[in-house]
């Protein structure tokens, strides 16, 4: 069994009017099969309202499926006795940095998770210091979170999760509210976590550029997975991705447009550097 597995997962939001009568049902997630290997970095792409966040909340046992099953490290997420084990195994970082920091001092916020696990005070100290060192936040240990930049706040959120020693972290649009610099900083740090600490990463985003280096990409639209596979294969479906409200990286779009005009380039170009290489090759061939 894969580390995280969903089978025919479906989730329905039921809207009720003031008297409690059912007004309508929205199928936010609809028949999703997902399988994530331990240690991998996968991305889930989709426009707003595509169901990607609803899917994410299941992986942490914050939502329970209407239909289908979800297992995390062999544990069924609907098994109430396993909730805490699931949550410490698969941690979660959310979009808004301010709405997920509990403590008023950096160090205390990091301690919040381990304290909930009922660890001894010595062990909590060790974990807090370890997490702060790993995320490069030691210098801010005694600072108030409000003194941090957006990128640093997200680093703090990551430190808080790391202190629970998870095997996997789910990032639910964790960079959506950051400036480009903060976004790049967080993404490269998470990649490093994945490579060096072997933490499984599920990266949920609507910025396709952020998914370039993933092991696998899943694209969602209206609750379903409509595309999946290696980034270069998925990204070559430029028109389909545009139709569902996503935008391929500029390099991909440019190479796609050039190919359409008859320039002989390889498909599946994801970044400007490889595009430059391809263009030079094309130029040499044409001479």
């Amino acid at each position: 069994m894969a580390f995280i597995e969903t089978k025919k997962l479906a989730f329905e939001y039921i809207r009720r009017d003031e008297e409690g009568n059912v007004e309508g049902i929205t199928r936010a997630v609809d028949g999703v099969n997902l399988s994530v290997e331990q240690g991998s970095f996968i991305s889930i792409l989709g426009a707003n309202g595509s169901g990607k966040s609803t899917l994410a909340l299941h992986l942490n046992s914050l939502l329970h499926p209407t239909e289908g099953t979800v297992t995390v490290d062999g544990m069924d997420i609907t098994d109430g006795s396993k909730s805490w084990d699931i949550r410490r195994t698969a941690g979660m970082v959310f979009q808004n940095p301010d709405n997920q920091i509990v403590g008023s001092i950096v160090e205390e916020d990091v301690a919040f998770g381990p304290e909930n696990l009922g660890l001894t005070s010595g062990e909590i100290f060790k974990r807090v210091n370890g997490s702060l060192a790993l995320t490069g936040m030691d210098a801010f240990k005694h600072k108030s979170p409000s003194a941090l930049s957006g990128g640093q706040k997200q680093r703090l959120s990551i430190a808080g999760v790391l202190a629970m020693h998870p095997k996997c972290i789910i990032f639910d649009e964790a960079t959506a509210m950051l400036d480009p610099e903060g976004r790049a900083e967080i993404l490269s740090f998470v990649r490093e976590l994945n490579r060096k600490q072997h933490i499984t990463v599920i990266w949920i985003t609507h910025f396709m550029e952020e998914a370039i280096d993933s092991d696998a990409v899943f694209v969602m639209d209206s609750g379903r997975i409509v595309l999946s596979g290696k980034p270069n294969a998925v990204f070559s479906q430029v028109e389909m991705l545009t139709n569902i409200g996503l935008r391929v990286p500029l390099a991909t779009r440019l190479s796609y447009d050039l190919i359409k005009e008859g320039v002989p380039l390889n498909r599946g170009i994801l970044d400007m550097e490889s595009l430059a290489g391809e263009l030079i090759r094309a130029k040499l061939n044409s001479n």
């Binding site: 959310f94 381990p114 304290e115 005070s121």
Partner: protein
């Protein structure tokens, strides 16, 4: 004005007060607040002021910071003073229009202003020198005995610490929303009181909606980090009394004893004949 509220903020520095156990500070604050309400004579108030000044100096929080906190509640203080001036009966001092102003009323009003200022500064000292999570711990432990009466002490303490953490964020948000509505031509400063209250709706509604969203997000984030109320929860820094705390308790007892003695015997001192009750009559 809203920027000026210092109550509930934490001032990050190191000091004698910062190092004290939160329980010591909570009990100290309660004792101090109680002493403010016991007597109404100049000696008690001067002594309470001296004690407060000493504590401020022991907190390493700039004096300016405290005064700024008072600006935020100036309106409430003035209202309280005015109500007292106009409603307390006694020997007429002078008339404002057809309203008589009594000597006793002025006296109570003056005391009220001092009492409120001491009260606000005294309680802000607690929050300024105690990180909210420590404060929560302290409250939880100090009032733990109430669990026997089925009072959800842990949950209340947690709610309070979260409220404290979000106060500065909500203040910032209020500022932004006010500015945004100003730029849509809103006017918060002119018109009758009713009109002004009405004009605040475009600020209050988005603020509440935002607060609910925050609450939802935060609840998810806390769940995701395995929060399950006070059950099985341990602490990185368990509370432990140190030498300073015993010294502080000793000081507190001396202070309370001094206040009570001054309260009882002040009437034998010049201008001291003014214990609550007598002054107001």
């Amino acid at each position: 004005m809203i920027r000026d509220i210092t109550l509930g903020q934490y001032y990050n520095t190191d000091s004698f007060l910062h190092r004290l156990d939160p329980r010591t500070k909570i009990i100290g604050t309660i004792v101090y607040l109680v002493t403010l309400f016991l007597y109404m004579n100049p000696y008690v108030y001067v002594f309470a002021l001296l004690f407060l000044v000493l504590m401020i100096r022991k907190s390493n929080v700039p004096f300016k910071f405290m005064i700024r906190g008072l600006r935020g509640i100036a309106f409430i203080m003035i209202m309280t003073a005015l109500i007292n001036i106009f409603t307390v009966p006694g020997d007429t001092l002078f008339m404002i229009g057809s309203f008589p102003v009594a000597k006793q009323g002025v006296r109570v009003a003056v005391y009220m202003i001092f009492r409120l200022s001491f009260l606000i500064i005294g309680s802000s000292l607690l929050t300024l020198t105690t990180p909210p999570v420590r404060l929560t711990d302290g409250l939880e432990r100090t009032f733990a005995f109430m669990k026997i009466f089925k009072v959800p002490v842990h949950d209340m303490a947690m709610m309070m610490s979260i409220a404290l953490r979000f106060i500065p964020i909500l203040i910032e948000e209020t500022n932004i929303i006010m500015k945004a509505q100003l730029s849509r031509g809103a006017d918060f400063e002119s018109g009758s009181l009713l009109k002004r209250i009405k004009s605040l709706m475009p600020v209050i509604i988005p603020l509440f909606i935002g607060a609910f969203k925050k609450a939802n997000d935060l609840a998810d984030a806390m769940d995701a980090r395995c929060y399950r109320g006070g059950v099985k929860r341990s602490r990185m820094n368990p509370l432990k009394y140190k030498k300073g705390d015993y010294a502080a308790y000793a000081m507190l007892v001396l202070y309370a004893a001094a206040i009570i003695s001054l309260g009882i015997y002040a009437k034998y001192l010049p201008f001291g004949n003014d214990i609550l009750g007598i002054g107001a009559k």
